[in-house]
Amino acid sequence: MGWLLEICDITKSFSGVPVLNGVSLSLQAGEIHALVGENGAGKSTLMKVVAGLHQPDAGELRLDGNPTRFRSPHEALLAGVAMIHQELLPFLDLTVAENIFMGIEPVSGPGWIDRPALHRKTVELLDRLGLKIPPDRRMRELRVAEMQTVEILKALAHNARLIIMDEPTSALTDREAGALFAILNDLRQRGASIIYISHKLEEVFRLADRVTILRDGCHVATHPIGGITTEALISLMVGRPLANRPRSAPGRAAPPILSVRNLALGRRFNNVSFDLAPGEVLGIAGLMGAGRSSLLSALYGLDPADSGQISIGGRALKISSPRNALDAGIGLVTEDRKVSGFIPLFGPRQNMTLAALRRWCRFGWIDQAAESAVADEQIRLFGIRASGRDQPVLRLSGGNQQKVVLARSMLAGPGVLLLDEPTRGIDIAAKEEVHRIVSDLARNGTAILLVSSELPELLSLSHRLLVMCEGRITGTLDPRTTTQEEILTLAMPG
């Protein structure tokens, strides 16, 4: 049987730095093909070449055996190739329906948008994923996870033969991800092909027919999913087997450093109370929209709470801006790195030192040498793949961007660290690295509040686990003894 898509010997470099070295890959019709590799391996770049966003320096694409070259995403879409990008690309001030059908709006008469049809088709699509987002809500009012589902619907709306999904579930909880997988299976049944990029290996094993591994811009191997184990996959990605991380030690009994009482903000969360001790990792589980992100940004002063008390080390504080929080020793890694995480044109160096720049200054004058030394050390510590400490973070791969943001929060040296989906989009080796860093920080006395949609991560890192549902804390669990079922029962509304 013929190939739907053949990627032959693609080479691509950015300003002289090679990113892809003769990568080849073939795809059958009706197959889900997983693409895995470390952060910066070149997965997104390869897929952008396929989708017409980048032009390859050398090599060719064959669609149905015919050499093709997409000069723009438009041409790719016309040929039935759609891509969901790793970085969300929402039109924030347009409605959900307009976002989904951008460029392919149903029209009646010349160019006149058929609003009823648009609404109907959007509802149909939303129903397929079991979502209840109003089609005429503006994207700006959605949360990151909802935006990500809208991105997925965009690709579905194009009825594409080949859908490329670049980490579509990085912000989704298991429930939404489950609904997505059902759709993907359905699409496969109907003969569509899917290239699926993910750092969540269990998804890969659950979903894919075959898997291709990229490392340093080179094709390493392609295997049928039945012919490879998780460990083998990891060592192909990383180039070495991963050491097993010891389970974190339980938190010490110490007076709480952070105490929260009856905190409330509008309809986002209310009556939230908990204590956090130095050296403790407190996990928060919940479904999409449970109010976890809102809680963290309130604690950090980005979106201050309406009522309730926050005290640090026994002293009540009013936190109305991130500056207050930082001065009180609270740090935050935000959920949406592109919007509120980094300065796109700053390099890793300038981004990492931004929150605590004072430390490398004398009389307001930056000690560039000291700053660079710190930056290089962090780049090494986090294994950030960048052409230098001043390469604009915008041009780093998604996972490396996340590491930069993490490094910045750590450099501010907070006593309380709030982490909102800290391992979103980072590869398995780096994830292990982040987990190690979190444990180390806790061991050294930092109090950590961890929000994550990955239950295994929460279960293995936390000393205590809160569950939130519809803005309220519905339970406190011991991660060593609890089960996923117990957590889900508390997290489900009703």
Binding site: P73, F91, M102, G103, E105, I113
Partner: protein, 318 residues
């Protein structure tokens, strides 16, 4: 935003306020003016205000297209002068049918706009620079074509554009027609929505397969074409094609759009707000003249009122 949920009714009122904050501001200013000088609320004066805002209104509608894509157009004032001269050259009595100068005026404006758009998109040069260049260039052309002198002696058919029709100034009718059509276009046509998309997120537009360069060029062409129309209207109103007309008109036009809620970074705004913005500026000008405020103080007060109005509006929307 209060934590306690508002009753449905008061929420409707709040939403109206939010959408039409500027209407409230206008009503406040209007009431104050009427109390201070009853002359303000006469039909003759209100018609005056309408007449006075029509040219700025047309320019503001045009520049709204460009602002929505995230661009800017500084060449409007010079295009007004150039197209006025072009139109006037063909509007001498008995030479050409009246539609010829009107069409040529609009067309030459659209050409300038299209050129702006092409250079911006092909050359990847900041709209500020390109339209600033066009500002100088079009002014030079206007002077060259007219040899630096006003082009006068225009036919009555052409001058009718500046006159009345059934007791209504023609200019207002033109403004209303253009604004109405633009509103429908921007909110209901595909191309209209794509303009918002490009301004909202250019990268995403490209990824969604939109022809970003084409859409931008279209917006600049509209802006230039409407400036051409404004040039024709101005020439008819001042009965001459004046090569030095329209200086700094672009600032007023952009101000009207921005006061009306259109964002300079693109993707947000619309024609309704732009019209309200133009109206607000017209009312302030008219009111200060009516109140006989001396020229120097007028400028000071005008600056403060405009900032204050926008502040009130944004506060209301919160």
């Amino acid at each position: 935003m209060s934590p306690k949920p508002a009753t449905p009714k008061s929420r409707t009122v709040l939403r109206l306020l939010e959408r039409f904050g500027l209407v409230i501001v206008l009503l406040i200013i209007g009431t104050a003016l009427t109390l201070l000088q009853p002359q303000f609320l006469t039909s003759a004066n209100l018609l005056n205000v309408a007449r006075q805002i029509s040219i700025n209104g047309i320019l503001a509608v045009g520049v709204t297209y460009v602002l929505l894509t995230g661009g800017v157009d500084l060449s409007l004032g010079s295009i007004v002068a150039l197209t006025g001269v072009v139109a006037a050259t063909f509007a001498h009595p008995g030479e050409w049918p009246v539609l010829v100068p009107i069409a040529l005026g609009i067309l030459s404006g659209a050409c300038c706009g299209a050129l702006n758009g092409l250079v911006i998109t092909r050359g990847r040069i900041a709209p500020f620079i390109v339209t600033l260049g066009m500002m100088t260039l079009a002014r030079g052309l206007a002077l060259l074509l007219s040899n630096g002198r006003p082009v006068s002696n225009l036919g009555t058919g052409f001058l009718a554009v500046g006159g009345d029709f059934l007791g209504f100034p023609v200019q207002i009718l033109i403004l209303l027609a253009i604004a109405g059509a633009s509103r429908l276009f921007l909110s209901n046509m595909r191309l209209g929505r794509h303009i918002f998309a490009v301004g909202g997120n250019e990268e995403a537009s490209r990824a969604a397969g939109l022809n970003v360069a084409g859409i931008k060029t279209f917006a600049y062409t509209m802006s230039g074409g409407l400036a051409g129309l404004a040039g024709v209207m101005l020439a008819a109103r001042i009965t001459t094609g004046q090569p030095n007309a329209g200086v700094a008109y672009e600032l007023d036009a952009i101000a009207a759009a921005v006061i009306g809620g259109t964002s300079l970074s693109g993707g947000v705004g619309g024609i309704g707000g732009t019209l309200l913005g133009a109206l607000l500026m017209g009312v302030i000008n008219n009111g200060l003249d009516l109140l006989n405020v001396s020229s120097y103080y007028q400028q000071i007060i005008k600056g403060i009122i405009i900032i204050g109005a926008v502040w009130l509006d944004r506060r209301q929307r919160n």
